[in-house]
Symmetry: C2
Subunit: 254 residues, 2 copies
DNA sequence: CCAAAAGTGTTGTTTCTACACCCATGA
DNA sequence: TCATGGGTGTAGAAACAACACTTTTGG
C-alpha cells in the first residue's frame, strides 16, 4: 500500500507520514495500456519485495481521493488521464496479507508492529487507461515498473490479482455504455486495434463487420481520410475518437 | 460519519474510538424501502444536529468493511440483508463539511479540533434493500429514524444528498442486470408493486404488459396461484422472487 | 502464389415498443 | 354505474448475430 515512494524517501515518509497522510487508506491503481494486440496492466516491484504489485499510493490529509489517484498515476507514468475511474473499495481484514506486508517493513528496518503503516488498510481501486507509447517506464534502482499482458499476470502482492479481476469485471459491464479504448489508443488508429481491445476485455472474438457497424452508430468514433499501412496487409482506413463526445460520456460515469 | 452511536455512549466511544475504529473512514448506508407506492430512504437525525443524514457507521480495526456495513444496517433496522451493495467511495476534502461537523462535536462538548473524529473522513457508500414492513423504526430520545420518499428528501448533512443521487444512478445502470426489488417486497406481491419500484427508480412510467413480459423472461420472478385482492380493483395474481436465482445474481455483482 | 487482414451487404432472429379492448371489484 | 387497475395479444421497428467472397499487400 505504501511502498510508493522512492526508497531514499521511504523511511523518512514512513516516520512522518502520520501527520501527512490519511491513515488506513490507500489507492490501488489498475493502469491499462494496449500494445502488440494485447491489453496490458502496469505493475510495480520494489527490491525489498519479491512480488509484483499494483501501483499504490496514499492520500494526503487535505487531498481528494480522486486527486490522490491522479497524483499516483502521474508519478508512475508521467501522464495525466481524465480516464481515471474509481471502481471499488477493498476492505477485507485479511487482504493486506499482514505477514507479507510486515516482512517488507522488516527489511526496511521497521520493527514496530503498531506503526501506522503496519496496520490494516482499506484500499480504493481506480482504473486508468493510458496510451502505451506515451508512458515512460521508469526503472531506477529500487523500483521496477513493467507492463504485463492481462493473461500473463503473476501472483501478486496481497489481493491485487483479485483487484485486477474486479476492475475487468466492472469494465465489462460498462463496455456498452462508455467509450472504452479512448485514451488507450493514439490519435489515429485502424479499427482493428479498437476491436482487439474489446476482444481482450470481453475475452472473445467479435465479428469485424458487426463491430464496425456498432461502433460507428455511436458518436464516439469517426472515420478519417487517412490510410494505415502495415506490411503484408491490405491498407485500412484510420479512425479517431471524437473527443467531446467521449469526455461527455466519461463525465457521466464519474 | 460518526454520530452513529446512542448518545449515552457517544462521548465514551469518541474518546476510546481511536483504538477500536479504523480512523478516517466511515460507512454511509443508503437504505431503500418501498411503501405506499413510493421508494423510500431511511434517514437518521440526532438531536445534536438539525439536519437529517444517512445512517452511518465506523469500521472496527479488525472488521471487513462489508461486515461493518452489515452491522450498521442491523443496528439501525434490526434486519440482516444479503442485498447490501457497495457502490462508491466518497473522499472529497470539502465533503465532510467540517464546520457543520465540528459544530455538532462542540455541542457534545468536544472542543479539540485535532481529535480524530474531527478530521476529514473518507466514506464508503453502501446501498441496501429492505422490506419496509419488517423494519422496526426505533425512536429513542436522542436519535430519530424516518423514511423519506425519494422525491421528498430534505437538504441533508454534508454531501449526503449527492450520495443518494449516486446510489440511484448506480442502481439505474444495474437495473437491467440485477433483480431489483428482491428484498424490497414481501414474499408474495402483485406485479404492479414491482413495476412501481422500477418506475420510481427509473423516474418514468413503464408499460404494464411489456414490463410483465420482460420480467417473466428473466428467471428471477415466477407467477403464483394465489390471488391478491384490493378494494375497488380487479383481483390480480401474485408473484414471488425465485430466491436461488436472485441470490446467484447478487453474488455476481458483489 | 500465399498468408494476412480489410472492404463490403444481406438475411433471419430476437428484442423492444406502442397500443386497445374487455373484465372484476367496491363504492 | 363508475373509477380503478388487471388480464391478454399483435404488429411494426430496431438491434443483433451470422455469414462469404473479393481485394491489397509484402514476402
Amino acid at each position: 500500500m505504501e511502498l510508493i515512494m522512492e526508497k531514499e524517501k521511504i523511511i523518512d515518509r514512513l516516520m512522518n507520514g502520520e501527520a501527512v497522510y490519511q491513515q488506513g487508506i490507500s489507492i490501488d491503481c489498475v493502469i491499462f495500456g494496449f500494445h502488440d494486440r494485447m491489453l496490458k496492466v502496469l505493475l510495480n516491484k520494489f527490491n525489498v519485495s519479491d512480488k509484483w504489485m499494483l501501483p499504490v499510493g496514499l492520500i494526503m490529509k487535505d487531498e481528494d481521493i480522486d486527486a490522490a489517484a491522479c497524483r499516483v498515476l502521474k508519478k508512475k507514468t508521467g501522464l495525466d488521464s481524465i480516464y481515471l475511474y474509481q471502481f471499488h473499495a477493498f476492505g477485507s481484514t485479511v487482504r493486506p496479507n499482514l505477514k507479507e506486508h510486515r516482512d517488507i517493513l522488516l527489511k526496511l528496518g521497521l520493527r514496530d508492529e503498531n506503526h501506522w503503516i503496519a496496520q490494516r488498510f482499506v484500499s480504493i481501486g481506480y482504473c486508468a487507461f493510458l496510451e502505451y507509447s506515451k508512458v515512460r517506464i521508469r526503472t531506477d534502482g529500487d523500483e521496477e515498473l513493467r507492463w504485463f499482458g492481462i493473461d500473463e499476470i503473476p501472483p501478486l502482492y496481497s489481493d491485487h490479482n483479485g483487484i485486477i479481476e474486479k476492475a475487468l469485471s466492472v469494465i465489462r459491464t460498462q463496455i456498452r455504455i462508455i467509450p472504452i479504448g479512448y485514451k488507450l489508443l493514439p490519435e489515429k488508429f485502424p479499427l482493428s486495434e479498437l476491436r482487439n481491445i474489446y476482444e481482450a476485455i470481453l475475452g472473445r472474438e467479435l465479428d469485424r463487420r458487426n463491430f464496425q457497424r456498432k461502433i460507428l452508430s455511436t458518436e464516439y468514433v469517426r472515420k478519417l481520410d487517412e490510410i494505415y499501412r502495415k506490411p503484408g496487409q491490405k491498407p485500412a482506413v484510420m479512425f479517431s475518437f471524437v473527443r467531446e463526445k467521449c469526455e461527455e460520456a466519461l463525465k457521466k460515469i464519474t
